[in-house]
Symmetry: C2
Subunit: 447 residues, 2 copies
């Protein structure tokens, strides 16, 4: 964990340098620090003054263009005209809460719920994925009457107090809260196991036992269905199935955090859980839902919401406002009409193959894995020992930034490139990235 922090610091701008930079960029950074202080984190050793963005490209104040492989929020493409138009239209008409009836809101809820298995038939709209996960935990606690949650070792589920409790990656060096247990992801790279489905289920079973024995009780298992912050683990599809079966046998709820894999990104289905052939009890959504318009949601089996509503009067002022609903409807339209799920599948395959291909020439590439347009590229110091190479990841990220390509890192060591471009990313864009990685890895002197 501490390691990860240091690595993130490597990728990010060192605040102490701002005052010594006698340039427009230095002034812009000092300005940022004056208002936002030490909490401000800027990407890259040389931060970017971003001005506009369109499709898969972002542009800085000097008009320089960047190919975006980092941003999963503008999922159907930056400034997508259809989404922009939907927001522009609705914001001039009505922007209010859900205590009045409004057709746009109800149409959105129906369209969204239609993307789920029929068991998942109720929704609460929130403003962020963090609010969605916070609410999901509450719903699970009320439904089960128990408080214990199981998450993965390097999970990130959001930023509220309660959600930070179940986000080990946000609490480096801190002991786990008494109601939380962590389990390792069945990661087949460093710790190949014979049957990852069984391995994961065994870990979860032990954690349930522990929650029960300590008297906390088991409320639910919460996982990002592509395990993004753990380092992107998608395969083998189906490995979650034995665990979900177990969770239900043990009277707990399975909460699928679809904030990152959701809305078609994996290319296989609208939702990451579908790749695993499971049906969650609760699904949480966020980031790509409004292509940047702040919105999130919790979809679930009706009895869970009914039970919760009996006990708690939850209300979210901005949640489900008609402008968010209009944005959300446009996002669903674009995913469907532009065939973005199929594009994620095809371009994702192309990208995966291309990166694996250059992996044959670069021993620093230890692994390339993922699903659709969510790919993790693992950098190692040594292919045999698989020792992580976070410094190399940081160098590569900053070199790619200098040549106009945006990318970030994830995983417990910060050694995994997290590749998740807007879903309109094409094979030509993939080729640019593959060639750039190839060249930069050749140019970086081996440690």
């Amino acid at each position: 964990m501490q390691k990860e922090r240091e690595i993130l610091a490597l990728n990010a701008f060192d605040q102490s340098r701002a005052s010594s930079m006698d340039t427009e960029l230095g002034e812009a950074m000092q300005r940022r620090l004056r208002s936002f202080g030490k909490a401000s984190v800027l990407f890259y050793q040389e931060p970017i003054r971003m001005e506009r963005a369109e499709g898969v490209y972002m542009f800085d104040v000097e008009g320089r263009r960047y190919l975006d492989l980092y941003n999963n929020v503008p999922s159907v493409g930056h400034s997508h005209p259809r989404v922009v138009e939907a927001i522009r239209r609705q914001v001039g008409v009505l922007n209010t809460h859900t205590r009045y009836l409004n057709d746009v809101v109800d149409a959105y809820a129906e369209r969204l719920l239609a993307t789920f298995p029929p068991e998942i038939d109720h929704v609460v709209l929130t403003c962020t994925g963090s609010e969605a996960n916070d609410l999901a935990l509450r719903i699970a606690k009320v439904a089960t009457g128990r408080a214990g949650f199981i998450v993965t070792e390097t999970a990130y589920h959001g930023n509220t107090t309660a959600v930070t409790d179940v986000s080990p990656s946000s609490r480096p060096g801190q002991p786990l809260p008494p109601h939380v247990r962590v389990v390792p992801v069945p990661e087949m790279f460093r710790n190949p196991v014979g049957d990852p489905g069984k391995s994961f289920a065994d870990s979860v079973a032990a954690a349930i036992d522990d929650l029960e024995q300590t008297g906390v009780g088991f409320a639910g298992l919460l996982v990002d269905t592509i395990f993004s912050s753990d380092g992107v683990y998608a395969d083998p599809a189906g490995f979650l199935a034995p665990t979900v079966k177990l969770v239900h046998e043990r009277q707990g709820l399975f909460i699928a955090d679809e904030v990152q894999p959701g809305f078609g990104r994996t290319g296989a289905a609208m939702w990451g859980f579908a790749r695993h052939g499971v049906v969650p009890d609760i699904v949480t959504m966020g980031k790509p839902m409004g292509n940047g318009f702040p919105m999130g949601g919790v979809a679930m089996r009706a009895p869970l919401l009914d039970r919760f509503a009996e006990e708690v009067k939850y209300f979210n002022t901005f949640g489900g406002n008609p402008v968010a609903a209009a944005a959300g409807l446009a996002v669903l339209d674009v995913i469907e009409e532009e065939g973005l799920m199929q594009n994620a599948r095809e371009v994702g395959r192309h990208l995966l193959d291309g990166l694996r291909d250059i992996g044959n020439r670069h021993i620093e590439i230890g692994d390339v894995r993922g699903a659709g347009l969510f790919i993790g590229l693992e950098l190692v110091r040594d292919r045999e020992t698989k020792e992580p190479a976070p410094e190399l990841a940081s160098q590569l990220i900053n070199r790619l930034r200098q040549r106009g390509i945006l990318i970030g890192a994830a995983g417990p060591f910060g050694s995994t490139l997290k590749i998740r471009p807007p879903l309109c990313f094409g094979k030509d864009h993939a080729d640019i990235f593959i060639a750039a990685c190839d060249e930069e890895l050749r140019a970086i002197p081996l440690a």
Copy 2:
């Protein structure tokens, strides 16, 4: 508390009636319930299918116009052209997170911080007031190393797990969490005290003692500076001062929740705390900040944020996005250029006087109080006993809705009309409301 619940239910639509309504409205309600289930709460015995809104007016699908005295989110007026234009412009240009530099975001942070006393010089931007209060609690815990918070008896501060813990109005009938203490608002209507400043400070002192004696320790006092959900208590201005002094003497933080009174609504100042002549350690903001665009924020003294940032890497994906910043800038521009604070003061005075005037003719009006365009009108069964009249409040609210006026209720008994129209509300609008209250109160048969 249970009482309040019943009353809220009186104001709201009874879900069980939806299926029996063979009308377009009935169909719309059934549609709402199908997706949102029992968690859905609709205003009024006859809910409204809202379609558009402009200034102080909202319009339903049949084109019927409603004068809005309820909605404090579209604070500078529904669909304000300046805010709408700012959102329309920015949403087509760039909508991303704060890990790139962007002038719009930095300009907004500076403009916002300039509205505070100089001690409050750092800000974190969030998406909602709930997220803001959740973060404020975390910052106070890190800064003090203690966990105990004091809030008012019927406080509402938001909807996350941690914020619900400090929102007694959201937890009717449930015991307080061990780290929370409640104090009564110095309400001068039912429990007049000689010196409300001293009375409030004494209550807080006792709560601090208790937190310390039980080993929890005192982290901070969190109050809505106009005590909205407690029933709207603004006067006498300055009554918070002795308490804030005490809080600091006892090494705690004073957190001002400005989600409701902030952005000029009290007419006296940009922030509710300023009426009391105090400087908070932390200020939280939400609802009116983006006139409906989801945004919130936490402003604070720099050392608090620096200390927090050393321990916690907080990041909010949508928080501080350039579209929110553009909306926020437009809101600040409009408040200033249209003189909305002065308008709130003048029209608020006019409204207060007019309602007190009809109070002379209606013994059911027990009290009219507030500041600027945040007014509470207390309905009683009996002026002597001051017994609350929530059923009368409900009748009046539903009758006003039928004649095209939107209003809601608050307070521990649901007997306080909560009057908080958009800040562009005029004296002519006030007169319409005063006359309507007068007529309806005359028409409602005395119980």
